[in-house]
């Protein structure tokens, strides 16, 4: 007998080549648990283009179409329409792409795909930099972070621009389902994907996926850091259905951002003033989200 809070079935096999403690791998495991076998995946250039293993190895129980870096949105559009033409409307079509492939090089194809309204899932596993090429800054890298293209140095050339909110860009497309999730909250993540599964049309879910290699943290801290991201409001968990925001995990008393930052080598260089600045940004973003939630819930259908 076992009491499990997430589905027992595994659709991700062992023997893959992800780094120790890889958050993106945990994300895939949950996504497939939520969706099941009747699924086709498309993955662009990203860590997950390598994780399944070297040819002829494959670590998923579902078919996977590897694609070029910037085309995930177009690829899932093509798979969806071909399946519909074949009368297979029930198959889940899932784009699973990193933050570089989503926030930067792939945003055009993503925007096009969701605007067209295809019945697809787009999962952005957000490890906040180009990790597969070795930790370069993306539009989704948070403010203050070290990466190899924001290396610090005498001129303190860290990433001083705030993280781009792809989830909000998706909300602006008026698609039926947008959510954020992270691996420390698998029940929340899986519930969101299952809810999305009931909705026809484009579904976008951004999953914060800590990367020990790129975030410079000990691999055993992956889940802990993911949890702290939520508890400090660095990465709030919410969903947006038809313009109505709902924060799904609300920390009673948010922890200081410092607790989240101090576990990660990529923020080691930050001064007290800089940490305060980041705290202010986090607080502002959180208030903004609360306003969206309150306002959107007040206006009833």
């Amino acid at each position: 007998m076992r009491k499990l809070t997430i589905p027992e079935e595994e659709y991700m096999r062992s023997g893959h080549t992800a780094c120790l403690g890889c958050g993106a791998t945990i994300a895939m495991r949950y996504v497939l648990k939520a969706l099941g076998k009747n699924t086709i995946l498309s993955i662009p250039a990203c860590c997950w283009a390598v994780i399944p293993g070297v040819y002829p190895r494959h670590n998923l129980e579902v078919p996977l179409l590897y694609t070029a870096f910037e085309v995930t949105g177009a690829a899932v559009s093509g798979i969806r329409e071909a399946l519909n033409a074949l009368g297979k409307e029930d198959v889940n079509v899932v784009g699973f792409a990193g933050d570089g492939g989503t926030a930067d090089i792939g945003i055009q194809a993503l925007s096009g795909a969701v605007e067209r309204g295809h019945d697809i899932f787009y999962i952005m596993y957000d490890n906040e930099a180009y990790m597969n090429t070795g930790i370069q800054r993306s539009g989704s890298t948070p403010i203050g972070a070290w990466t190899t293209t924001t290396p610090g140095g005498k001129k303190r050339m860290y990433k001083w621009e705030p993280k781009k909110s792809v989830a909000e860009i998706m909300v602006a497309h008026h698609i039926p389902y947008v959510a954020t999730a992270t691996i420390a909250y698998p029940e929340d993540l899986i519930a969101k994907i299952k809810r999305a599964k009931e909705i026809k049309g484009p579904k976008f879910i951004q999953i914060l996926s800590p990367c020990p290699t790129g975030w410079r943290h000990s691999p055993d801290k992956t889940v802990e850091i993911s949890r702290l991201a939520v508890q400090t409001n660095a990465f709030p968990l919410y969903e947006v259905v038809k313009g109505t925001y709902r924060i799904t995990v609300k920390p009673k008393k948010p922890k200081p951002i410092k607790e989240y930052l101090r576990l990660q080598g990529r923020f080691r260089h930050l001064t007290e003033e800089e940490i305060e600045m980041i705290q202010r940004i986090v607080d502002e973003n959180w208030r903004e989200l609360l306003k969206k939630e309150r306002c959107s819930q007040e206006v009833k259908e």
């Binding site: 062992s14 893959h16 791998t25 190895r57 055993d220 889940v223």
Partner: protein, 105 residues
């Protein structure tokens, strides 16, 4: 000798990755202390490999009789890379990370 060509026209990966035993990557080995294990399956839930499997309730001694009906977990060392998430997340510190060289067989 004749040229050896793949049968497929394009690379189609079909061999399960499980043939790749990633246990060799491990520096630290998670060791479950069954006397402490409360069979909550949190380690199973967060394992990125996944390399934590279920075992029968009586495969290991239960710390409390009330837990004896629940399945146990065991680590598949063929695949465990030793990341330590299980040990870090265990609510009762029932998993110890031991340097591979110091593991007593």
């Amino acid at each position: 000798m004749a040229i050896i060509l793949p049968e497929d026209p394009t690379p189609i990966a079909r061999v399960p990755s499980t043939e790749n035993k990633t246990g060799g990557w491990r520096t630290f080995r998670p060791v479950i202390i069954y006397e402490k294990c409360i069979r909550c399956f949190i380690c199973w839930k967060f394992c990125p490999e996944p390399a934590i499997e279920f075992d029968s309730p009586d495969a290991y001694p239960a710390p409390k009789p009330a837990l004896a009906k629940f399945d146990t977990v065991k680590i598949n060392y063929d695949y465990c890379k030793g990341c330590g998430i299980c040990a870090n997340e265990c609510p009762v510190n029932a998993i110890e990370m031991v340097l591979e060289e110091e593991v007593e067989e």
